[in-house]
């Protein structure tokens, strides 16, 4: 999941996998991300404040899940001309920090005329439960 290469449209095939990549989101990252985004809710800062809201403890903000899945796609695109046109996410269940997670992606559609690619993305826990699911659209320039 590094972005050194340039993905070429001609390389892309339906069924191609992005990842899987194993991650664990630490509480320091949750706090830093929330601070960087100006999200001041206690549920992203402190276990006690989160519990006061009825949560089991600090939770990972949906925006961070979206950012991780966006990065999964932009790293796959690399430094070439393709660009992330759209991403949609559904947060099906809480993502908790300090749990092992896996980022998954699959190319599901390639349109040669519009040079557009559709990708399924999701975050899964160790029980195989998909906590965050989404889709992304990538477009490649005609000159790439």
């Amino acid at each position: 999941m590094t972005a050194a290469s340039e993905r070429q449209f001609a390389q892309v095939t339906i069924g191609e996998a992005l990842g899987p990549f194993e991650i664990t989101i630490g509480k320091p990252l949750v706090r830093r991300y929330a601070a960087a985004c100006g999200m001041d809710s206690g549920r992203f800062r402190d276990d006690g404040e989160a519990r006061a809201e009825g949560l089991p403890g600090m939770i990972v903000p949906g925006n961070l899940s979206l950012s991780l899945l966006s990065k999964l796609v932009t790293d796959w695109i690399g430094s070439g001309g393709g660009h992330l046109k759209r991403i949609g996410t559904t947060y099906r269940s809480m993502v908790l920090p300090e749990h092992r997670l896996t980022l998954h992606g699959f190319v599901t559609h390639v349109d040669s005329d519009s040079r557009a690619v559709e990708i399924d993305v999701w975050i899964e826990n160790d029980d195989g439960e998909r906590l965050v699911i989404g889709t992304a659209s990538v477009e490649f320039p005609t000159t790439a």
């Binding site: 809201e53 949906g62 991780l68």
Partner: protein, 151 residues
Amino acid sequence: MAVDRSLIGKVFEATAPMAVSAESIIEFCRTMEEHNPRYGKSGANGEIVAPPSFAVTFRNTDAFFRFTPQLGRGFDAGKEVEFFVPIRAGDEISLTSIVRDIYEKTGRTGTMTFVILRSTLTNQRGETVAHVDHRFVHRNPAAKENPAETE
């Protein structure tokens, strides 16, 4: 919980434009450990370009929540983001939001009210930067544990 669908179409106008500093983009890139040379300090032509998902850090959803105290704060159930123009350091981003839909469904934690709020981000040149459709879920008061569950 009563669902007041009359709110559909209500517009929450932008507050003052928000200036995008180089530091805010760089900090976002550092946080995400962004190594793609297209983003951050080494953006093309010496510009400092934000990764796409930086767009979701702009929001005026508080205005909506203040308008609907009966719904409570709610949880983020998902987003749909369409990117048009990259955000660069020095940009000034304005936001306008409109309530696109309100509906009920039932899930693992009981009856939930969903609100779709579309925010349009515009830069100082009048270019549309992104559409961000926020999908908020508000639980009914009898919902069970794990209030952030959306299914």
